[in-house]
């Protein structure tokens, strides 16, 4: 068998995907009301273009992009705007949001089938991506249009679809690849067309052999598209790691994938791109994995953007007995929620419920014993040990000598640390107190 593509470093947390792996994607109950944040992406927040009391249809634009690095937001239900105010999001920040009461009619604003989408020009396709408000659905929520508009001096020759889904527990992308494999391949073809590229890869971690098979099957007639099995290792799905694993190119520090002529998109994003190009369907729903040992019935739900997490938890039968921690996203990089009344956004890939006994209490940690585990596994080749000791003792500036700002906070170091040091937290502290 061929050696699997991979990168240097990385960790092997228990993948725990069995919990939700076999649950087919199910349409979630339409919620009574949705809270749609106007800032679901990296970049400028949207400006609301509806007013309180206004009736909106499903898929209608309710927020216009506030800049180039931005993406419009659409209503995910049909109904009446009842409030425009600040609401907390999953990161605990207050974000200007539009609250819509669902009238249950599910009336679409505009959906038009366009089977000849592949014949459209690059600019026309881009326009569709822009109108649909698509952002990266792997978690970072970077506006897709920006990635698809590289400056002229940076030619792109490769598009990679990220189906690694290296975060433990999460199975949203896996289910999508199983159930919508041909749509995803179509999405990739559209992306390649937009960028004028004739090499496409789909990278999938090897713990999902059926997904690899499915995708290979779907791409059978596409000579330009290759499905790559990747070694099962966290963070295989991080952009730079994925590029290194598949193409062998290393993105230099503080550079972007486009600097090595690559664009990476999540498989979910590819699906959204396909649906936008084909039906003109905006990004108003996404697959969310509801999982963890603390939830009664784990599931992969197709959830409308803006649905409150409490509604989803309820639909999944609630907590088993005592939920210790609820995380939005995966266990490695997700955010612990302080309240369940926060909405699902375009970047929410999972809701993880960790029972009380499974919570790692990080208050008590020991000194760094310099075992070097974190250095061995750091995918960025940094020295997390020093990056945690220096801020701990107040030497924030010195941390920059250890390439503080190259860290993308994957959490691998904190995972392996035998002294249970809050390395990521200390690194964030240092980042917030210094300038790059």
């Amino acid at each position: 068998m061929m050696a699997l593509a991979t990168f240097k470093g990385g960790i092997h947390p228990p993948d725990k995907k069995d919990l939700a792996k076999d649950k087919a994607i199910k349409e979630a109950k339409s919620p009574q009301r949705v809270v749609i944040p106007l800032s679901q992406h990296l970049g400028a927040p949207c400006k609301p273009i509806v007013s309180i009391g206004q009736e909106v249809k499903k898929g209608e634009v309710i927020g216009e992009p506030g800049g180039f690095v931005s993406a419009p937001v659409h209503s995910s239900v049909s109904g009446k705007v009842i409030a425009i105010a600040e609401f907390p999001n999953a990161m605990g920040r207050m974000v200007n949001s539009i609250v819509i009461e669902n009238d249950g009619k599910e009336e679409w604003a505009s959906l038009k089938d366009n089977p000849d989408y592949i014949k459209l020009s690059s600019d026309e396709l881009k326009e569709k991506v822009k109108a649909a408000g698509i952002v990266g659905m792997g978690g970072a929520a970077f506006p897709t249009l920006v990635k698809l508009s590289p400056p002229k001096e940076k030619p792109i020759d490769t598009v990679i679809l990220n189906g690694a889904e290296c975060e433990p527990y999460l199975t949203a992308d896996y289910r999508l690849m199983l159930e919508k494999s041909s749509d995803i391949v179509e999405g990739l073809k559209i992306l390649m067309r937009i960028l004028g590229v004739n090499k496409g890869f789909i990278g999938i971690e090897n713990n999902k052999p059926d997904a690899i098979e499915k995708m290979k099957d779907a791409a059978r007639n596409e000579p330009n598209i290759e499905v790559c099995g990747l070694e099962v290792k966290y963070p295989q799905g991080a952009e730079k790691m994925l590029i290194s694993a598949i193409t062998g190119r290393e993105v230099p520090p503080r550079a972007l994938p486009m600097d090595v002529r690559v664009v990476v998109q999540n498989v979910g994003t590819a699906l959204a791109v396909y649906e936008a190009a084909r039906y003109g369907k905006p990004l108003i729903e996404r697959v969310v994995t509801v999982t963890g040992e603390g939830i009664k019935t784990p599931a992969n739900l197709m959830v409308k953007i803006g649905t409150l997490i409490s509604d989803i938890v309820e639909e999944c039968g609630g907590f088993k007995d005592s939920a210790g921690k609820v995380v939005s996203g995966g266990p490695m990089m997700g955010f612990a929620l302080s309240t369940l009344d926060v909405p699902v956004t375009k970047g929410t890939s999972g809701i993880l419920v960790i029972p009380e006994e499974g919570v790692v209490h990080a208050e008590e940690y020991g000194p760094c014993i310099r075992c070097g585990r974190c250095i061995d596994i750091c995918p960025m080749g940094l020295m997390p040990s020093m990056l945690s000791i220096l801020p701990e003792k107040g030497h924030y500036e010195d941390a920059k000598e250890y390439n503080l700002f190259d860290c993308f906070e994957c959490g691998s170091c904190a995972f392996v640390c035998p002294s249970k040091r809050p390395i990521v937290q200390l690194i964030r502290l240092a980042k917030s107190l210094t300038k790059p």
Partner: protein
């Protein structure tokens, strides 16, 4: 003078009879400048060069001026005068010739006059009866040994910056203890060369 002997003299001065760890000299500077790696490196370069030159200079003066005139008993006054004069001259010349270098190393020159090593080298040269070449090698070895000590110490103290040293021991006390530990460890070199 065969080369092997000179090499042994050098090794002995640098490692076995290291000024800091076995002769306890230059401690004030040693503890003073090793707080930072940059200053230690600057000091090392300045020190080693001044040491070699002053060893040679004093050797010449001792042999051709002091001995003939019977001024041996004034060695302290004369040596310190020579060193001070030389350092002053070096300071002036460097300022003129290479301002960049002066900017980097000049501040260390000022510190050198009050250092016992710089005086100890000519005094030991006299008492050990080294000839001109030997004196220079002895000066060079001592300089390298001192530099080595300073650089090791600076790297250790940098590491200690982020250590939980008990409050009463922070700063000099722990530095003394480190020096003691290094001195203990350097005993491993003893017996390496028997002069």
């Amino acid at each position: 003078m065969e080369f092997g002997k000179l090499f042994e003299l050098f090794i002995a001065a640098a490692l076995i009879n290291n000024f800091v760890f076995t002769r306890y000299l230059g401690l004030c500077i040693f503890f003073g400048v090793t707080k930072k790696m940059d200053t230690s490196i600057g000091m090392s370069i300045t020190f080693t060069s001044v040491m070699v030159i002053s060893a040679a200079l004093n050797r010449v003066i001792y042999k051709f001026i002091m001995i003939p005139l019977g001024l041996g008993f004034l060695e302290i006054v004369i040596f310190i005068g020579v060193v001070a004069g030389f350092v002053q001259a070096a300071d002036t010349i460097m300022k003129k010739v290479s301002p960049g270098l002066y900017y980097k190393l000049g501040i260390y020159l000022a510190l050198i006059t009050t250092n016992c090593i710089i005086l100890a080298v000519p005094l030991l040269n006299v008492s050990e009866g080294y000839n001109f070449i030997e004196s220079m090698f002895f000066g060079f070895g001592s300089g390298i040994g001192f530099s080595l000590a300073m650089i090791i110490m600076a790297s250790i103290r940098e590491k200690l910056e982020i250590a939980d040293v008990p409050k009463a021991f922070q700063g000099l006390p722990i530095s003394f203890i480190i020096t003691g530990l290094i001195a203990l460890v350097f005993l491993g070199f003893s017996g390496l060369i028997t002069l």
